[in-house]
Amino acid sequence: MIIKIINNFYHHIRAILIGLKYLLSPGIRITLKYPDELPILPENYRGMLKLNNELCISCGLCSQICPAGAINLKLFEHEQTKQVGRHPEVDYKRCIFCGFCIDICPSKALELTRIHDAAFYVEDELYYEVNRLIIGPKIDPPCMRSKYVISEIDEVRGIVYRNA
């Protein structure tokens, strides 16, 4: 009984001390202040798509494999090159970013970009026609003071963010 009480008391103290330790030790934080700090994602991150229409062979595999039915094919004539083909259009309302379309594309016409913030002011902007898909997603930083950071795994602090 006495031992149990002493043991309990000891563990109470230990819990309070670990709290104090984290309170007083300098700056361990894992939060990323997202709109202010934008992470630079790893190179192979599966973000939004970009189309290289010169490589596209209009095979339609991307549309066939898309699990969410987000890719439609559309007849498209390029303004300058006058090249004609059935090129994909992406509906980001449906897209689940699985990257199957990129992987199955036999001619590497579809490319990954590392941009993932598919947020727009107008709903229709979520639908990427061929024109826009060729240009690729260009999304402005969400706020004025945004800066890019690199996240690194750290043995002591879990994750540290360095300015890029």
Binding site: A15, I16, I18, G19, Y22, L23, R29, I30, T31, K33
Partner: protein, 334 residues
């Protein structure tokens, strides 16, 4: 000029100054705003987060609570159809008032040479304790008037807890009274000039402090409003400014009790700073307050029956021990 003098005189008269400015209403508002901010920041620091930030970024979001309060002000007061509307709205206000009542008899040192006590009686300790026991009743009424099962269960919990913390609270306070041979808090503080009560009778201090934690539903005794099963306990149905009030009540109660705790156990306004003895007092109060809110980030909450058991088994025993100790010390000294 005479009018200004008159107003100043009225304002600086202890019976106005104490409840209204220091340590009364205005100080409480400031302290609560800082305290809740500090609570959130402390928790954030321990939990590897940032905490409130975007309201006044430069000062680390210190005005966050003010912004929240403003939002509460402009929100619609919603009373549910089945609630007892008059009591539902009146009880938070009465509870708030009742919480502040003990301040009338709790001395808070002196400021600019004014003795800060609104009402000096020779039974101020008893009066403070008696007045402080009003609030839980209104919390229970709130839950009843809401006509909500969760609120009702929360009220019942408050009732259960109330009987288990009040006894040790009063007994340990009385053991201090026995030790110093007076029921007047001013006398008790003055007696501690050389040595604080906490050093003479630590059991009393411990059981008093835990009872305070319990009565103001701080962790690990945040049982009344435990959100994981009761949503918000007695406060479930409250919204807008009424919610702001009911959420403020436990903090005010904590402040009042901390003031009492410092007076009884930590030597009140000693060591003296000439003419500004209140500053010593308020520093001690702030430290105790910070420690109480810091506990949130260390503990989960106890179960209701466990808390009641702690109240009756441990705290009650400790308070009895503390009374015995006080009697022994008195007997030994005399």
């Amino acid at each position: 000029m005479e009018i200004v003098d008159l107003i100043l005189n009225i304002l600086l008269h202890p019976s106005i100054f104490v409840p209204l400015i220091f340590p009364g209403f205005i100080t409480i508002l400031i302290i609560i705003i800082l305290l809740i901010w500090a609570e959130r920041k402390v928790a954030a620091k321990i939990q590897m987060r940032i905490g409130p930030l975007y309201v006044t970024r430069r000062f680390g979001g210190i005005l966050q609570l003010l912004a929240d309060l403003l939002r509460y002000m402009f929100a619609e007061v919603i009373t549910s159809k089945d609630s007892d509307k008059f009591i539902f709205i009146a009880s938070p206000i009465v509870a708030l008032t009742a919480t502040l009542l003990p301040l009338a008899v709790i001395p808070a040192g002196s400021l600019l040479g004014i003795e800060l006590i609104a009402l000096r009686t020779n039974i101020s300790l008893l009066a403070a304790l008696a007045l402080s026991s009003l609030t839980p009743i209104f919390i229970i009424i709130m839950g009843w008037a809401s006509n909500n099962k969760f609120a009702l269960m929360g009220s019942l919990r408050e009732g259960h807890l109330m009987i288990s913390y009040e006894v040790p609270l009063y007994l340990s306070a009385l053991s201090v009274a026995i030790l110093h041979g007076s029921l007047d808090i001013v006398d008790i503080v003055n007696n501690q000039q050389r040595v604080w009560t906490v050093l003479i009778n630590p059991f009393a201090a411990f059981s008093f402090f835990i009872s305070v934690i319990m009565s103001t539903s701080r962790f690990p005794f945040e049982i009344t409003e435990s959100d994981s099963e009761l949503v918000a306990g007695p406060y479930t149905e409250y919204s807008s400014i009424l919610y702001g009030l009911v959420m403020g009540v436990p903090y005010m109660r904590l402040y009042v009790f901390t003031l009492l705790f410092v007076d009884l156990f930590l030597g009140g306004w000693y060591p003296l700073i000439d003419g500004f003895s209140s500053i010593t007092l308020i520093i001690k109060v702030l430290i105790i307050l910070l420690f109480s809110v810091f506990l949130r980030s260390v503990y989960p909450r106890y179960r209701l029956d466990q808390a009641i058991r702690i109240g009756w088994h441990i705290l009650f025993t400790l308070s009895l021990i503390s009374i015995t100790l006080s009697l022994l010390i008195i007997g030994w000294v005399m």
